[in-house]
């Protein structure tokens, strides 16, 4: 799949933003007044900034309001509904802390859970795709949630929790990659089933339907970046998980904490890039590619 910058930014920053909102809502930190304003501003910049970035790849962003209508079947629609609900709840909760110094515990709790709901519905957009066997697995939502909660804990300064969650995240990610590498083959979709010609013999793509490229090839067949996958996986594990945990375990200082956050963000950006670049869509088989 084509690793579009807008979607990578969205997945990385919205995940972190909603993760921070989750911890704020749960009352892991209860700032008031200006302090609360700063915390909520950071969370909203990340969460909303990511959502706005995600509209950049739309053909008609001005019609985005229509995307709230099909929540009965569409995970993208559910994500939209969930995001608006979570942002409103957390705005009420935040306003209570900033302007009145009161903690509306129940609203924060609901808003916090809804924030995780956004991350889950996002992950299901990918998980539901039968056409991309690598994504169609429980590790996809598990990894989205773990990254969001772990990254959120890191931002919220929950040192111990963050260290544990990031460690778990690193291990799960390695498992997701390892098992994902075999899933395309296991899906049973091959050039033989795609063309229905396997009963005659071995099928080879002889000539594509066109001399140039097309939307399908640009969007779904991304073989170029895959050759560096192994190095990028190591970089991802190092930056997103190992380095932040090491920095967290050192005696606390604000500089080290900031470094841990930066390293984590850089690592998650790489991780998201790999998430798309390594995902093979079955349509590639019609072009003799993966």
């Amino acid at each position: 799949m084509h690793p579009a910058a807008s979607v990578i930014l969205f997945n990385t920053f919205s995940g972190l933003g909603f993760g921070l909102l989750f911890w704020l809502g749960m009352g892991a930190i209860v700032p008031t007044g200006t302090g609360a304003f700063v915390w909520f501003a950071i969370a909203y910049v990340f969460a909303v900034g990511g959502l706005i970035a995600s509209t950049f790849h739309l053909g008609h962003p001005e019609r985005a309001i229509k995307a709230f209508s099909q929540w009965k079947t569409s995970w993208l629609s559910r994500e939209g509904v969930c995001a608006v609900f979570a942002l409103i709840m957390m705005a009420i909760y935040g306003a209570g802390l900033v302007f009145a110094g009161t903690r509306l515990g129940l609203i924060g709790f609901i808003g916090g859970l809804a924030s995780l709901g956004v991350v889950f519905t996002t992950s299901m957009i990918y998980t539901q795709m039968k056409t991309v066997p690598r994504w169609r697995h429980w590790t996809t939502p598990a990894m989205y949630l773990l990254l969001s909660v772990g990254g959120g804990a890191l931002l919220a300064g929950q040192v111990k929790v963050a260290a544990v969650l990031l460690l778990a995240g690193g291990i799960l990610q390695m498992f997701a990659w390892g098992s994902g590498d075999m899933r395309f083959k296991a899906s049973g979709t091959t050039m033989a089933s795609a063309t229905g010609l396997g009963h005659i013999g071995k099928v080879r793509a002889f000539e594509p339907p066109h001399t140039g490229t097309n939307y399908l090839m640009r969007e779904f067949i991304h073989q170029v970046g895959r050759k560096h996958a192994d190095q990028l996986r190591i970089i991802t594990i190092g930056l997103a998980f190992v380095l932040p945990v090491v920095l967290l375990l050192l005696p606390f200082s604000h500089i080290l904490a900031a470094l841990a956050v930066l390293s984590h963000i850089a690592g998650v950006l790489t991780l998201r890039w790999l998430f798309f670049a390594q995902a093979e869509h079955v349509v590639g088989l019609y072009y003799g590619k993966r």
């Binding site: 985005a64 009965k72 079947t73 957009i125 039968k130 063309t195 009963h199």
Partner: protein
């Protein structure tokens, strides 16, 4: 609405004969022509005459080489467009309701004025039957020429999809695959029509007819004994001729 309707009795679709298709791409061009000049946003091209041409097509013809265990390889031309699936995953993922499947005849369509161009329906389609138009920013797909097949302004023989009307080889058939007595259903039954990627669970309406086995040339050996290969042991007149010719400058050794 992106909820799928209950399966319709009428299932309009195409039957494509891989035995007959000669790979001329006439169906590709007539499709592009009709769907650029008629219903919906035109199918744009980018750099049509430039170094890197690309464009939106609703029907594309691939060519595959199939190599059996024994004997010669076969070349098979393979037209592919939307299969108007019964369990269309492209419809249910659509967040806006722009993608829908018609309850009355099963045709899968996009309401372009509702489409936000998110591309998710193209992700969900295993067959690559949907293309986001680079100029219009909306999703394009085969409409089964819904603006021809019911169009009373057209002469009766033109009330079928442009690709079917155009195909010079008679490799494309249009009809109701929900009716088991229709010509297309009989053709599918007779020839063993099959689904593409059945394991994806999309239940395509369109069917493909397999290439027939190639004819074998019968061994025709009435004259064969008289045409035995020339002796290669270099005896007699032929042997002498062979040597003599090889000895000439430039002769084969």
């Amino acid at each position: 609405m992106t909820q799928l309707p209950p399966p319709s009795a009428k299932k309009l679709g195409l039957v494509i004969d891989l035995d007959t298709c000669v790979g001329c791409h006439a169906c590709v061009i007539s499709c592009k022509g009709w769907n650029t000049e008629n219903y919906g946003a035109p199918l744009s091209d980018q750099q049509a005459y430039g170094a890197n041409p690309s464009g939106t097509f609703l029907n594309r013809v691939h060519s595959y080489e199939v190599q059996p265990d024994q004997g010669a390889a076969q070349l098979i031309h393979f037209p592919k467009s939307c299969l108007h699936c019964e369990d269309a995953p492209c419809v249910t993922v659509c967040p806006t309701g722009a993608s829908y499947k018609r309850a009355e005849d099963g045709i899968v369509l996009v309401n372009e004025s509702d489409c936000i161009g998110c591309g998710l329906c193209a992700w969900a389609c295993p067959y690559g039957a949907r293309e986001l138009d680079a100029k219009e920013g909306v999703m394009k797909k085969c409409t089964l020429c819904v603006d021809r097949i019911y169009n009373e302004n057209l002469p009766e023989e033109d009330r079928q999809p442009a690709c079917v009307r155009t195909c010079p080889a008679g490799a494309r058939h249009f009809g109701d695959l929900g009716d088991e007595n229709s010509d297309v259903s009989k053709l599918v039954a007779e020839r063993g029509g099959f689904d593409l990627m059945p394991e994806q669970g999309t239940k395509p309406v369109n069917k493909y007819l397999p290439p027939r086995p190639k004819d074998e040339m019968p061994e025709f050996d009435v004259l064969a004994p008289y045409l035995e290969p020339i002796a290669s042991d270099g005896k007699g007149f032929v042997g002498w001729l062979d040597k003599a010719l090889s000895a000439l400058p430039g002769g084969a050794k």
